[in-house]
Amino acid sequence: MNELEDIKLKALLQGMKLDSPEPNFSVRVMNKIFEESTALERIKSEKVLGKGFWIIMILFIALLAMVFFMQNTGTQPDGQLQSILPKMNSGVLESYDSFFSKLGSLPLAVGAIMAAFSVLIFLDRFISSNSKVFAY
């Protein structure tokens, strides 16, 4: 194919009118884009995780931290506990000791499983709430 043939082809093709979509095509495309933009803005402005979830989460993390602390240090020595809570009566102190001695004896693996479980729930909830954002 020589240069002249190429020029002829180019001239012919550039003089050609391409097929066009319906006259309101660009309006339809823009309407669709505006719809999707609005939907995206709404998703972005929605709070993914509510206040209740965060309170439960903080309490749960605090509990886990306590379990971990008890696992490593055992129960509070009586003297130390007395200094922290000097005015408590002996019944309350006994219950307190009993509860934490049981909690402290939980194996570390149970704590780890609980922590992993809560993280998975958190991730699942976060991803499913953001699925539209991720898809976008």
Partner: protein, 188 residues
């Protein structure tokens, strides 16, 4: 100039002025629609596909860095969309070997052929090309894209693009020569 205009509108859209995207749609709707129509062979489906391509381009606009022409980037989205749809629907692309390419073609004689007939003949000739060759020829002649840009759109290697484009041009020239010869006989 065209490139500068595109960048101007794109920056506006990126800055949150979504309505500026309509300039992009207006400018490229014909070629995007033509590629989709050639592949899907149905106006309704082609319009849907073209619309989908523009929306996809809008959504991914933040990833467009401007290192290549915007049109190349948009055609790549369109072409990929079309290929995916074809695979989904299990439509077979026309074989490139259906049309015979002669070594010695008749010279393309346009003398005495009215402009309108020429345009019709070009459309008919293009319609005979398989989808891939049609896209290559359209981008090369109509959009004046370089081999490098076309290879980015079609994801073919540059050497493969060159070979396929040469073949498509030769084939188109051959078809047109025959058509114009017949046309000339009709007029005379």
């Amino acid at each position: 100039m065209e490139q500068k205009d595109d960048i101007y509108y794109i920056e506006k859209v990126k800055a949150g002025q979504t309505n500026y995207f309509s300039y992009i749609v207006e400018q490229y709707q014909d070629i995007v629609f033509s590629i989709a129509l050639k592949v899907l062979k149905n106006r309704t489906d082609a319009e849907e596909m073209a619309q989908e391509s523009f929306i996809k381009a809008y959504k991914s606009l933040h990833t467009f860095k401007g290192s290549a022409k915007f049109s190349t980037w948009l055609y790549r989205i369109t072409y990929n969309n079309c290929i995916s749809e074809v695979r989904k629907r299990k439509i077979h692309f026309a074989s490139t070997d259906d049309i015979e390419i002669r070594d010695e073609t008749t010279e393309l004689n346009l003398d005495g052929i009215p402009e309108e007939n020429r345009a019709q003949a070009v459309k008919k000739a293009l319609a005979k090309l398989p989808e891939e060759e049609y896209t290559l020829v359209l981008l090369y002649y109509f959009e004046e894209q370089s081999i490098e840009e076309i290879s980015r759109v079609t994801r073919l290697s540059e050497s493969n693009t060159k070979v396929k484009l040469f073949r498509a041009r030769k084939k188109l020239y051959s078809i047109l020569s025959e058509m114009m010869k017949d046309e000339l006989y009709t007029i005379l």
